[in-house]
């Protein structure tokens, strides 16, 4: 348990500083451009988590403590939470894709492409196996995982057997995956509608929505949480996970102990890819029901921020995904209520990313003793090695 929770104070320090900086800079930008940051952030929060008063009224009503039925404003709060859950789900997966590889000392920038490969598998097999109804869901999801696994194994093998650095190869493979899925969507799988896109998956083969006024939020969020638990168990409770972490912690020592570095390099990126692929599949099977062009972008890249904010721990990944997911859904409300352009949330995300690994900055603020706390957010090797 202690390992699970770790040194919570230390773990939260870097993310906390990054978030505070980001919101402070966002406030400065808004003041400079003539907006009211307080109103904007209030709208952002309400758009992400609903208003506490509304949620309170709904709760009281559901518990039969009051007869006052919730009004439309109250149900809007539920819809906001639903949107946040929808945004959080894929980010948990792409965050895990980065975190698992990171534990083995590898930087997986390929979440975007792995996510696309999983989504593609779902868009194709979801339709092809649609006649199975709900029975198709597990089969398709396994296929999505395999699809991401194989796509992740490529940079793993290139690194292990040819020495090609995974950062560059995963970036390149992202584009290859995006072009490949674009071709498959546009030509062989096109439904021949106005815009290029695949056939919609039969309703019965979709991941069911949660209902209860939560909009598109679906059971995918539980699969994401299960995936986080699975990642934790894999890394800290299995021999495979021990080997992965050993390779990440000290490749030399791992090698000396007879742990194959090559094999584990391939495995780490492939497992990461499987998580991202599952995320892509669940996005198609739970939210969109098909793959349109252009498909959702930047989920994989945001996953990098999610993992780092969560210090590459599954629990942290879930929290990080929630923060970035909330930013995305709150942005719409912020734009609607206060006219602050939605894109400010991308700026906030970028600033969080900028600061989350800035070891020296946190040292300057809080003194040298925090240096060891940075351990979970950086790899010390260069790209040339």
């Amino acid at each position: 348990m202690r390992r699970l929770l770790g040194n919570i104070g230390g773990s939260l320090l870097f993310p906390f500083v990054a978030i505070v900086f980001s919101f402070a800079i966002g406030a400065v930008i808004m003041l400079a451009t003539g907006y009211n940051p307080v109103a904007a952030y209030a709208a952002l929060f309400e758009g992400a988590f609903g208003s506490p008063a509304s949620l309170g009224r709904i709760l009281l009503y559901e518990l039969r403590l009051t007869d006052a039925a919730p009004g439309p404003q109250d149900t809007a709060s539920l819809a906001a939470i639903g949107r946040t859950l929808v945004n959080t789900t894929p980010l948990i997966f792409t965050g895990l894709a980065v975190a698992v590889a990171f534990r083995a000392g590898l930087f997986n920038i390929g979440g975007e492409g792995q996510f696309f490969m999983g989504a593609m598998a779902a868009a194709w097999l979801g339709v092809a196996l649609g006649f199975l109804g709900p029975g198709a869901i597990p089969i398709v999801l396994i296929a999505c995982g395999i699809s991401g696994f194989l796509w992740g194994a490529i940079p793993g093998a290139l690194k292990a057997y040819f020495g090609a650095h995974e950062v560059i190869t995963t970036i390149m493979l992202n584009f290859i995956a995006i072009f490949l899925t674009s071709y498959l969507t546009r030509v062989p799988l096109d439904r021949e509608g106005v815009l290029p896109g695949t056939e919609p998956i039969t309703e019965s083969a979709m991941i069911p929505i949660l209902g209860a006024g939560l909009g598109l939020a679906n059971y995918g969020i539980f699969l994401a949480l299960l995936a986080a638990v699975a990642a934790y168990l894999l890394l800290w409770r299995t021999k495979t996970g021990f080997e992965l972490r050993a390779v990440g912690f000290s490749p030399g020592a791992a090698n000396y102990a007879g742990i194959g570095i090559g094999r584990n390099t391939v495995l780490a990126l492939a497992i990461g890819g499987a998580f991202a692929g599952l995320g892509g599949g669940i996005e198609v099977m739970g939210v969109y029901g098909n793959m349109d062009l252009p498909f959702v972008r930047n989920v994989g890249f945001t996953g990098i921020g999610v993992a780092l904010l969560g210090r590459n721990h599954p629990v942290g990944v879930v929290l990080g995904a929630l923060i970035f997911g909330a930013l995305a859904s709150g942005g719409q409300q912020m734009q609607f209520d206060t006219q602050v352009p939605l894109d400010l949330t991308s700026v906030l995300t970028a600033v969080i990313l900028l600061f989350v690994t800035a070891t020296k900055l946190v040292e300057l603020i809080l003194g040298k003793r925090v240096r060891e706390l940075a351990a979970g957010t950086r790899l010390e090797r260069g790209l040339g090695s």
């Binding site: 090609a164 800035a358 010390e380």
Partner: protein, 307 residues
């Protein structure tokens, strides 16, 4: 026969137009990486500069102010990268990713602030083609190579300049040494941090030229996300060109030629997507060591800490 020559000329002209922004950004990336700082933020540096150029030209009515704004914006964003990576020892990959995201969100945000609308900016002045006397009269290739915008000519001279600076000046030697053995540079009394700031700053200004070429030469307006991955293709060109200016120039021409093909090859023959994949596939091939290994500067990606 004439028709074939016209086609060759047109393909060559398109190749140059496609390659120009790639060459600028790839040369920029080279200065940064040669100094030991990975710069996957080239995409963002190009994007913010493309935007700043249009804003400058819009406010002033002249391309020169646009150019100044663009280079200034590229420099500013590059300095953010430098401060984070060199001074605060943040992760270089993460910082680069953040720069890309910052440029994407920041330009979309500022579009609304400056022009009152998202999407595409109003039209501004642009760098029109200037035909060079005599040279532009050369049959077939003349117009393709020498009836281009000023920025293309600047690109032509930037390749030898970069080569000269990197390999024939004390500054270039120090810069390269900083990316290979920073300890030695430090021991020799040269500040590693300062050299890296120079490298990253140069990358920002060069990438800016690539960005401003997109918005004020190829087009005459800014569109959100208009760099469309060119920063990453430039990164690929830099690697495929083995961190060498002439190599990067050649790689950018090759990738630009690929781009020119996408509008010539009938999609039934080879779908566009497969032609667009080529730069990325080739980069993986050379990184994996097929056909002569591409090797990055030894210290690239590592923060340098005196101790």
């Amino acid at each position: 026969m004439d028709e074939i020559l016209v086609t060759i000329g047109a393909v060559l002209a398109a190749t140059i137009r496609n390659a120009t922004p790639l060459v600028f950004a790839a040369l920029g990336g080279m200065f940064s990486e040669r100094s030991g700082v990975v710069n996957i933020g080239l995409e963002g540096l190009m994007l913010i500069s493309a935007f700043a150029g249009v804003v400058g030209a819009f406010l002033s009515g002249t391309v020169w102010v646009g150019l100044l704004f663009a280079v200034g914006a590229g420099l500013l964003f590059a300095l953010i990268h430098a401060v984070m990576c060199v001074t605060f020892e943040a992760d270089q990959i993460i910082s680069g990713t953040a720069i890309n995201l910052l440029a994407l969100g920041g330009t979309a945000f500022l579009m609304v602030i400056v022009f009152g609308q998202g999407g595409t900016s109003p039209d501004v002045e642009k760098f029109d083609p200037i035909a060079i006397p005599l040279l532009s009269q050369i049959p077939v290739v003349g117009r393709a190579l020498f009836d281009q915008s000023l920025l293309v000519y600047l690109m032509y001279v930037m390749v030898p300049i970069t080569f000269f600076v990197l390999f024939r000046t004390p500054f270039g030697l120090r810069l390269r040494a900083t990316g290979e053995v920073p300890e030695a540079v430090d021991t020799a009394g040269v500040s590693v941090a300062r050299m890296r700031y120079y490298g990253v700053a140069l990358s920002g200004m060069l990438a800016a030229l690539g960005g401003v070429y997109l918005s004020m030469s190829l087009l005459s307006s800014f569109t959100e996300g208009m760099t469309a991955g060119r920063g990453f293709i430039a990164l690929a060109a830099m690697i495929f060109g083995r961190w060498h200016p002439v190599g990067a120039f050649g790689a950018a021409l090759l990738f630009g030629f690929g781009g020119a093909l996408t509008i010539r090859v009938p999609p039934e023959a080879i779908p566009n997507e497969f032609i667009q994949m080529i730069p990325y596939v080739l980069t993986i091939v050379v990184l994996a060591g097929f056909g002569g290994r591409a090797i990055a500067p030894a210290a690239v990606g590592k923060p340098y800490r005196k101790e």
